[in-house]
Amino acid sequence: MQQMQKKLIIASSPHIRDSVTTRRIMQEVCLALAPAGIAGIVYFGVDALKLILISVCTCVLTEYLYQRLMNQKVTAGDWSAVVTGLLIAYNVPASAPWWIPVVGGVFAILLVKQLFGGIGSNFANPALTARAVLFISWGSIMGSYPVTRYMEDAVSSATPLALLQQDPSQVSVWTLLIGNHGGVLGETCAIALILGGVYLIIRGIADWRIPVSFICTAFVCFLLQGGFDLALKEVLAGGLLLGAFFMATDYVTTPTSVPGRFIMGAGCGLLLFLIRAFANYPEGCSFAILFMNVMTPMIDRFTMPKYFGEVKKHG
């Protein structure tokens, strides 16, 4: 017993912890992102794989080098940089040159994430901001979508989003579901994205409130604009699903309270509709989410829940 007593540690309670870790969560997100990536590689071939690898490597390496250089604890192994890398790659067309994901990755990790203090401290989603920067800077590269390997005619390589606002009947729901159409490499296959998103929600990683309110709001907006057919296809097309499931649910950059999360989702949906329907850019997903990211501290501030037994102060 003497020996045992020597080994004993004194620590403050609680003494047991749940097995979920940051790393586990990030790994699960990567797993959930995998189907969409595989679909991208199937449709766009080796180019897609190349871009995904470059993007992930850039992100992890940037994080590692920065932390080594600044003499910080290296957390590059927590897989969060991998998630960012994957998301950046998924938001790039397969025909993009190699330096696009490199610039995006460095920007995302260095400027958006590490400068503000690393994981958990950034207020904007790194992948989204990087995508927006790439999109604004090199619109011609980021906006020219290659045809998939299984498309019969190269004519329809225009993104379905552009076609939808002209005439929804040009695009079939089936095409959108399986993803056999032009677009950035990770957003085309709706089935793969839904699969990953549902997995995240079931595993309790992502909060269902954001994607559900996001998709519903967007759906209702488009329903009012152009009927059921348009609404359904708008939801399936473009980056909406990728954004709703994987980017709008990023913990760090979204409100923490329950009503705040509904506001976040609904705001994203509404802005997405406004941008897609009326603004310059054909795709509003990243801007919509980014704007709501910026709004997050304010939403958090005004939706602070009442705590148990809190007595409203008078005066």
Binding site: S13, P14, H15
Partner: protein, 464 residues
């Protein structure tokens, strides 16, 4: 049928080592009385008791060896018959140092003359309070608040409802569970006597529904008693928390900074009620209690232990601990206090002694990723994320505004945090700082007032 409402948040930790509940089936065994008992004088919240025996005195079992040291205090009784060996300072499991009376057991177990209540069914409130106070009964769930004080509501407050806590305060612990299985009749009897005395018409026994056998036993015991019902509750830590229990059963929220009596309720642990029943019917003071010896013990079990027994004896009775043990905990794994002195005595508030393995070592803290799990799991609906940031930033005013003083330190947030942040620990510190500041502010205000008074008096005199 009334549907219980789950309090917000909460967690569902595994119920024992490797997720296995090991102690449920172990009947309560009596731990043989040790050769010496070390009975601390401060086993409760409030002023320590004052010794009334001296070295060399012969004492009987159940004899008062220390008197209550104030209103919020409780007397202490000898748990064995024997001779007082010394009165010295000892360290308790919770790390506090206190005076303790060491008694050498003569193994005769001679009780003092016991005075059971003569007319238990018609006790007045004052009589019941005095019996409870005399028996040295304190909250046995671990809070150790003197029960007599709890049963003396402030003027203007009326007890409408008794709530019995059979929810087992923490995972791993099974003491209450076994007590409900083995002494249901006594518990119901005690509750009935309390209701009669206070004229309370309604009592609810809340039991988590993973203890089906206990629910059945208690239901059977209260079948013929009017006004008492058993309420099965969802399994969710901290169901045994006072405010959570009241909310689940009555849907009333105890206001922040308030007491259960503010919503007309008094919550008692089943163990406490059993002790009250023993005091009324048998006249026996609180000298022993059921303790769960759990975790990595070779033969874990539930023991009836004399107050003042050293932890060492309990561990030995369990056949020692397994080699991988890294931590001993007094209480449950979520709120219990770690200690490293196996010679510390077991007190009235010791609900369990747990041996935990390497899982008790705190993993390294990572940065918060704002996942919001802590907020979803907080049973008090607080915002641990924001509170923690503010405490670490020494921004205590903001932390206080966020309700940090309502934190019940249940540990749910720390348990679920994927970044393994020490949230509860940080709040504990923050609360201490804020409490100290409040005290200081109060003192200053008091001083100023006194000075003002003096000045006024002086001015008054001059005027004369």
């Amino acid at each position: 049928m009334f549907k219980p409402r789950l309090f917000p948040g909460g967690v569902h930790p595994h119920e024992g080592v490797n997720g296995k509940e090991v102690n449920k089936g172990n009947a309560i065994r009596e731990l043989p009385a040790p050769e010496r008992v070390v009975i601390p004088l401060s086993q409760h919240i409030g002023a320590p008791a004052k010794p009334v025996v001296a070295k060399g005195d012969h004492v009987l079992m159940g004899q008062v060896i220390a008197e209550a040291g104030g209103f919020v205090s409780a007397p202490v009784h000898s748990s064995v018959s024997g001779t007082v060996a010394e009165i010295s300072t000892v360290k308790l499991c919770n790390g506090n140092e206190t005076q303790a009376i060491t008694i050498v057991n003569d193994f005769k177990d001679e009780w003092v003359e016991l005075h059971p209540a003569e007319h238990p069914e018609t006790l007045s409130q004052a009589e019941l309070q005095s019996i409870v106070r005399g028996a040295g009964i304190v909250g046995m769930g671990g809070a150790t608040f003197p029960t007599a004080v709890k049963l003396t509501p402030a003027s203007g407050k009326v007890i409408e409802k008794f709530i019995l806590n059979g929810a087992e305060c923490e995972p791993y612990l099974t003491a209450d569970h076994r007590l409900m299985l083995e002494k249901p009749v006594q518990i119901i009897d005690g509750l009935r006597l309390m209701m009669l005395s206070f004229g309370v018409k309604e009592a609810v026994i809340g039991i988590e529904d993973n203890k089906k056998d206990a629910i059945a036993a208690m239901k059977a015991a209260c079948r013929d008693v009017e006004g008492i019902r058993v309420q099965a509750l969802p399994v969710r830590y901290p169901q045994g928390g006072e405010k959570q229990l009241i909310y689940a059963i009555t849907r009333r929220e105890v206001p922040a900074g308030g007491l259960p009596i503010d919503v007309g309720c008094v919550v008692c642990n089943v163990g406490t009620v059993y002790a009250i029943q023993q005091a009324i019917r048998e006249g026996k003071p609180l000298v022993q209690r059921v303790v769960t010896a759990g975790g990595l013990m070779n033969n874990p079990g539930n023991y009836l232990v004399r107050v003042g027994t050293r932890v060492r004896s309990l561990i030995e009775a369990c056949g020692g601990v397994k080699p991988e043990v890294r931590q001993l905990v007094n209480g449950g794994p979520m709120m219990g206090v770690a200690f490293n002195d196996v010679d510390a005595p077991i007190t009235k508030g010791t609900s369990g002694i747990l041996a935990l393995g390497p899982e008790a070592i705190d993993p390294p803290e990572g940065p918060c990723i704002r996942c919001g799990r802590c907020m979803r799991h907080c049973p008090m609906k607080l915002l641990p994320v924001h509170m923690d940031q503010n405490v670490r930033d020494e921004n205590y005013e903001e932390a206080e505004r966020l309700g940090i003083m309502s934190c019940i330190e249940c540990g749910a947030c720390t348990y679920v945090c994927p970044a393994k942040r020490m949230l509860t620990q940080s709040f504990r510190m923050g609360k201490k700082v804020i409490a100290a500041r409040q005290r200081a502010a109060k003192e200053i205000a008091q001083k100023a007032q006194e000075e003002l008074k003096k000045e006024q008096e002086a001015a008054g005199k001059e005027a004369k």
